[in-house]
């Protein structure tokens, strides 16, 4: 019926062209039901075929993908831009990079590696986070040297001992450290870039106490234990005794690090004092893969005299050489060490308060702490009482180290840094 209705006006149009308007006016719905149907038609969504639906879905996916790609690209560009800042930033900004470090470090294995298994066993007891490292053999046959290197997966490795560490009658792992012990920390920096490379080398000593078998374990019939076996190495922490905590403080205060060491008349003379135990190393012409050796000399200073007095003073045995001109290296080292003693005196001298003196009415007549905060080479030399108190409290600190710590880890962190102008 509908078709007839539509066709009729068309037919009329064809029959009488002049009455086009009539076609449109005639198209108006003529009944209420027709009206309602038209309204319904407008409100209901159109029915699509299956193919049409697929097309719509695909369009949506494409739109979504485009949006995601745009957002991801924006994020990536943003991050890359943030992390790769210009390297010529002044000041002490730490350079963060989304990529790997510009260097690795490596250490050579001793030609006689028989010490290794016992040594590694002890380090594991102290801190199991230190790994062996990634092995790299350089050279062939007799000249082959095994190196152990850090990398992304091995960022903390064990420092292999060298022949200096294992000298007979003075091995750092068998005989042990005591006042006047000295040695050298050697390793290589392997740059992964060309050009400028700067690192900060931080040195810290961690203290441990050993746990030995109990008398029952030693006398056990089924499994008697050697009284010398170390069952555990416990790190000195905040919950340890005061003496143990002080021992760690004192050994960090008594061991000094230098960049150079020479032998003068069979005595070791040190220069290039490393302040705050942080050694800033930099070089402008490194080549990727070419090893840069680093040597840091350490000494457990025996007496305070050795740091302060000069060779011209009687019974001095100083560790710093003589200063020839003002502000030469020896002069700078002495000044830096004097300032160090004044600033860090609580980490060097034991029980400073015990050396104060009071009169009968309990008034303070000698304030050792105040004297330590402000002394000079001259008054150290002339004031015998000050010199004696400083010597006694320094030796007392050494005694505390020796009676409270059994093992130490000399822990080195190498962190990328900025080039400095000297």
């Amino acid at each position: 019926m509908k078709a007839e209705k539509f066709n009729q006006p068309l037919l009329n149009m064809m029959n009488s062209p002049s009455s086009a308007a009539d076609v449109w006016t005639r198209r108006q719905p003529e009944t209420d039901t027709e009206n309602q149907k038209a309204v319904d038609d407008m409100n209901t969504p159109p029915v699509h075929t299956y193919d049409e639906l697929k097309k719509i879905r695909r369009d949506a996916y494409i739109k979504m993908a485009v949006i995601v790609v745009i957002i991801v690209t924006a994020l990536v560009f943003g991050s890359v831009a943030w992390f790769t800042q210009s390297r010529e930033v002044e000041g002490s900004a730490v350079r963060m990079t989304a990529s790997d470090l510009s260097f690795e470090i490596r250490v050579a294995e001793n030609s006689d590696a028989s010490y290794w298994s016992a040594y590694k066993g002890l380090i594991n007891l102290a801190d199991s986070n230190y790994k062996d490292g990634y092995k790299q053999t350089v050279g062939e046959d007799e000249e082959a040297v095994d190196y152990y290197m850090t990398n992304g997966n091995n960022d903390s490795i064990v420092w292999r001992l060298d022949s200096d560490d294992l000298t007979e009658n003075d091995s750092i792992i068998i005989d042990g450290l005591k006042p006047n012990s000295c040695g050298t920390l050697s390793f290589d920096i392997i740059p992964k870039i060309n050009g400028d490379l700067a690192v900060d080398i931080k040195l810290n000593i961690r203290g441990f106490t050993a746990v030995y078998p109990t008398q029952e374990e030693i006398e056990d019939e089924d499994d008697p234990q050697d009284p010398d076996t170390i069952k555990a190495l416990n790190e000195v922490s905040n919950s340890s005794s005061t003496d143990e905590k002080n021992a760690v403080k004192y050994i960090n205060g008594h061991i000094l690090y230098f960049t150079d060491k020479t032998s003068v008349n069979d005595k070791n003379i040190y220069s290039g004092y490393i302040e705050n135990n942080i050694y800033h190393w930099q070089k402008s012409d490194v080549i990727e893969g070419r090893a840069e050796p680093v040597k840091i000399h350490w000494i457990w200073v025996n007496t305070v005299d050795q740091i302060i007095l000069k060779s011209t003073d009687a019974k001095s045995n100083p560790i710093i050489g003589d200063s020839e001109t003002e502000n030469d290296q020896a002069d700078k080292d002495r000044k830096a060490l004097l300032s160090y003693i004044k600033r860090q005196n609580t980490s060097i001298f034991d029980s400073i308060d015990l050396y104060d003196e009071y009169n009968d009415s309990n008034a303070l007549t000698y304030d050792f702490s105040a004297k330590l905060d402000d002394f000079s080479y001259d008054n150290y030399k002339k004031d015998e009482k000050l010199r004696n108190k400083m010597t006694d409290s320094y030796n007392a600190a050494d005694q505390i180290i020796g009676t409270n710590l059994n093992y130490v880890l000399i822990d080195m962190k190498v962190i990328e840094s900025q080039m400095k102008n000297n």
């Binding site: 690795e104 850090t150 992304g152 010398d228 180290i401 093992y407």
Partner: protein, 310 residues
């Protein structure tokens, strides 16, 4: 119709989640890299315990009181024996050993190595025993009132209760060494190691009589006794293994002056980590009863005692 609306919402959620996850991933990678922005290497070293050990006379007295002078080889002691007819007969037998007391004291160490070195001019044997110090209270007439262990404070007033008191060893040597204290011990600081007040359960003053009881042969933490490093079995003199320590390449010397080296490692040191300690030892010098000592000239031997921490 409704289906489409749902999936659209769901899709929106999925898209947003995906974007958030991507953002998190992108941020976490560089942050992680930042944390491993350093390299570490650590070297382990042992700390040598300070060697604050001293050799003293009995009860940590100054070593000038350590007396190892004359060994009297002609002393005799009386004892009863059964003769052939099983009668008790009093016989005189030669004394064949003599005891001397020394102590090792100092700041706390877990264990130390004890060494003794001596020449062999005399045909003597040397052994080290643990010593236990008793303070003796006597009345005016010299009778013993009490014997008290100065470390534990336990008293033995009845003579017969002390199992070895006043009895002699098989070789005739008394089971204790008598020693007269020469100083107020709590105040003694000659070793620069300060002992706290009342370190012993019983305080000892100058003039006090001490009996140092000869205990067991000295063993270390692992229960082993010491031994000679260069003595061949059955031979009195040193073998050649450590001769170069005393004489280098020189070989023209009297064999009896080549010292014997005796050592015991891991000897127990102190009890409490924060306190000093002293341990008493007895050197027993003995000779064989079959040797006729009257045939020997008087000779002198030198004995060295040392204690140190490995």
């Amino acid at each position: 119709m409704r289906e489409n609306v749902k999936t659209r919402k769901q899709r929106m959620v999925e898209i947003i989640t995906a974007i958030i996850m991507t953002a998190i991933l992108l941020i976490s990678i560089p942050v992680f890299a930042w944390f491993t922005n350093q390299r570490n290497m650590a070297k382990l070293a042992k700390i040598k315990a300070p060697d604050d050990l001293y050799i003293n006379a009995a009860h940590r007295e100054d070593k000038i009181h350590l007396d190892m002078r004359t060994v009297n080889v002609s002393m005799k002691y009386k004892t009863t024996e059964l003769d052939e007819e099983n009668n008790k007969v009093e016989v005189e037998k030669p004394v064949t050993s003599q005891n001397y007391v020394f102590s090792v004291s100092g700041n706390y160490v877990r264990s130390f190595t004890l060494q003794m070195e001596h020449t062999t001019n005399n045909p003597f044997s040397y052994k080290i025993y643990e010593g236990i110090i008793y303070k003796v209270e006597k009345n005016v007439s010299g009778d013993i009132l009490s014997i008290t262990n100065i470390k534990t404070g336990k008293s033995i007033t009845d003579e017969s209760e002390h199992p070895d008191y006043n009895t002699l060893n098989a070789d005739g040597s008394p089971k204790y060494v008598e020693y007269i204290a020469t100083n107020d011990w709590d105040a003694l600081e000659v070793t620069k190691v300060t002992f706290p007040n009342n370190f012993d359960s019983v305080s000892v003053s100058a003039g006090d009589t001490l009996y140092i009881y000869v205990g067991d042969e000295l063993t270390n933490l692992a229960g082993t006794t010491g031994g000679y490093l260069n003595k061949a079995d059955g031979v009195r003199t040193a073998n050649g293994s450590l001769t170069d320590k005393s004489y280098d390449d020189y070989d023209n010397f009297n064999i009896y002056t080549n010292p014997l080296f005796w050592q015991l490692k891991n000897v127990k040191g102190g009890e409490t980590k924060s306190q000093p300690f002293y341990n008493t030892y007895v050197i027993n010098v003995s000779w064989s009863p079959t040797i006729d000592m009257s045939l020997y000239d008087k000779e002198t031997d030198i004995i060295y005692i040392s204690a140190f921490v490995e």
